[in-house]
């Protein structure tokens, strides 16, 4: 049995090695696949803060993923058409700068998470699942009917946004940006899980009444986790849209929310690198099975069922032999 920490380091190093190998072997498509895996891992890592530590089963995280994507799409669209973005009394110029777009994506999706969280956290359990799902759908239908930015067809941008000092059009450089962000977020997650806040949040998941009796507000802890989680997933959404230079309402779809949860479960709930394992396996399955049959989702479904019914603790749990991720 392998220690989980070693597994995590090996996994991240392996991912980097695949991308570097693909660069040397001149296989840009493999780099794109690896970038896709990294960005999906980032989105799921965001969700993992709410779901893994806080126990909040959000089936609406596609809302934040999509918002991040649309922030990128809208800002870049206004930059490439040289039109200002009118927001009531304010008029903002569009931008093609990644750091600015990221900041906007984090703020917008964090704000949305605050509002959705305030409403949804009035409830718990199944209600919470259904309500987050419904809010996700609300954004989906809004994006479809919002004809100013493409409606159902989505929005394309011509050139990938820029990052100071780098040429983001070179696949490996864009991969590098996403990879560094993923590592930073994983580091944040690891620190958070051991911080007083993380411990309190963990306690709020297991025994909210006890947390309340020692003078902490479990709802507030969960809300902070939810906002943080939404902001990270939003950032991933902006990167995802930049990878394909395209945003569409499908980023908001509830299947997307489901897939984010799937990524976490595949790897293992509340495990630091669960989302990374999940995303890598998912992208590989998508690529390999998708090449064999048009109906690869059937097999994905079967694999998922088997994992839920028989492999508690996900793939990391199977390899590291520990049923519980943290205690």
């Amino acid at each position: 049995m392998i220690r989980e920490r070693h597994l995590n380091i090996g996994l991240l190093a392996g991912l980097l090695a695949v991308a570097l190998w693909a660069m040397l072997a001149d296989q840009p498509f493999t780099i794109t696949l690896a970038t896709r895996a990294v960005i999906l891992a980032l989105a799921a890592a965001g969700l993992n803060i709410a779901l893994g530590i806080g126990g909040l089963v959000s089936l609406g995280h596609a809302a934040f993923f999509g918002l991040g994507g649309y922030v990128m799409g809208v800002l870049a669209y206004h930059a490439q058409t040289y039109t200002p973005l009118e927001l009531g009394p304010f008029s903002i110029a569009g931008t093609k700068s990644m750091p600015l777009i990221w900041l906007a994506a984090i703020c917008v999706s964090g704000l949305a998470a605050l509002v959705i969280g305030l409403l949804s956290l009035r409830t718990s359990g199944v209600y919470f699942i259904m309500i987050t799902l419904a809010f996700g759908q609300m954004f989906y239908y809004f994006a479809i009917s919002w004809s100013a930015y493409g409606g159902e067809d989505g929005l394309s941008i011509y050139v990938r946004n820029g990052f100071p000092g780098l040429n983001t059009l070179v696949p490996i450089q864009f991969f590098g940006i996403c990879y560094v962000i993923l590592c930073l977020v994983l580091y944040l997650h690891a620190r958070l899980a051991r911080s007083p806040f993380g411990l309190a949040l963990n306690a709020a998941r297991q025994a909210p009444v006890r947390v309340l009796t020692v003078g902490l507000d479990p709802t507030r802890l969960k809300l902070v986790a939810f906002v943080l989680s939404g902001a990270i997933t939003g950032l991933a959404g902006a990167l995802f849209a930049d990878l394909y230079r395209f945003v569409s309402p499908t980023m908001f779809s509830w299947q997307m929310s489901g897939e984010l949860i799937v990524l976490i479960i595949l790897g293992g709930v509340a495990r630091l690198c669960g989302p990374v394992v999940g995303a890598v396996v998912f992208v590989m399955l998508e690529h390999l099975l998708g090449g064999l049959t048009d109906f690869w989702h059937v097999w994905l479904g079967v694999i998922l069922l088997l994992i839920v019914l028989f492999a508690r603790g996900g793939l990391i749990g199977m390899v590291s032999g520990r049923a519980v991720a943290h205690d």
Binding site: L133, W254, V298, L304
Partner: protein, 306 residues
């Protein structure tokens, strides 16, 4: 904006609400009795519609198609209950979400495999085709009126089943205390299979009935599933009365919002802006309704206090 149009739209809203009730009733029963959140309920709706289209294609009879839909959906429900769902009652909600999400993937792609990607069509039977003239001279499609009547009739039947029969007593007892009724000699796992199959049959029936006015295609179940979730969140999970009221509220809000919000906006701004702003707001209206109900009563209109 004539009175006739308003009445027509109200009837359309009632029709979609009544069909939503059939979906929501199954979901809320399954949650109330077994404590299970079933995302695959939309797949059962789809199975009902496909079974109806297939049977109607073979036999040409709409009545047989409905029987086929009920049977196929109930059978599919019983099979997944016995093979998969049964293992999930003791699990947490996350596992239930995942497993039923996996079932959706399997059912959706499996159906695409068998029937292909093109939508099927289910014909409205001749005796229900065409308009009917209502008092006041309003011409309204006969089939939609039949849907309202059928939905209300099924609702009444369900009420009778739950409130007035021996099986209903067991189901309600199962909601309150499953250990106790198991101890009293009721075969609880058979009861669970029965409730699940009943919920599935209701979803299948709704799928077949609605399938005749929309196209029958893969993925048709999920939008309805999510609306049904909104319905039971509004009505209160586990409450049939809440599901009924919630379904009518959602059906009416959704239908009327889509028609009247753009008109309302035209009073204030120019038509083009009003059209797009109204449409955007209308698409969000039921979720706004849900938020308002939640702020007012976090467990829904008829839900038990947490």
């Amino acid at each position: 904006m004539s009175l006739i149009l308003i009445i027509e739209q109200v009837l359309n809203g009632l029709q979609s609400g009544v069909m939503l009730f059939l979906m929501a009733a199954g979901l809320t029963l399954i949650f109330g009795v077994m404590g299970l959140i079933n995302l695959a309920h939309g797949s059962l709706y789809m199975i009902g519609a496909f079974a109806a289209a297939a049977v109607a294609g073979f036999t040409g009879s709409f009545a047989l198609a409905l029987v086929g839909a009920l049977a196929a959906a109930a059978a599919a429900g019983a099979i997944i209950e016995i093979t998969v769902i049964r293992r999930l009652y003791a699990s947490d909600h996350l596992d239930q979400v995942l497993a039923t999400f996996a079932l959706i993937l399997i059912f959706s792609e499996g159906t695409r495999w068998v029937f292909g990607s093109f939508p099927l069509f289910l014909e409205i039977p001749p005796y229900l085709a065409g308009p009917v003239t209502l008092p006041g001279g309003i011409a309204y499609p006969k089939y939609r009126l039949a849907l309202i009547v059928a939905g209300l009739a099924v609702g009444a039947l369900l009420w009778f089943l739950i409130e007035r029969t021996r099986m209903g007593i067991r189901i309600r007892a199962g909601e309150n205390d499953r250990e106790m009724i198991a101890a009293l000699g009721v075969d609880i796992s058979r009861l669970y299979t029965l409730v699940f199959a009943l919920g599935a049959a209701l979803a299948g029936l709704a799928g077949a009935l609605v399938g005749a006015i929309q196209s029958v295609q893969v993925g048709m179940g999920e939008p309805v599933l999510i609306l049904a979730f909104v319905v039971i969140v509004i009505g209160g999970i586990g409450s049939l009365k809440g599901a009924f009221l919630g379904a009518l509220l959602v059906g009416l809000t959704d239908t009327l919002g889509g028609i009247f919000l753009p008109e309302l906006f035209k009073l204030f701004t120019d038509p083009a802006t009003a059209q797009s702003a109204g449409a955007s707001l209308a698409s969000m209206s039921i979720y706004i309704l849900m938020s308002l109900v939640l702020i007012w009563r976090p467990t829904g209109l008829f839900g038990a206090p947490a």
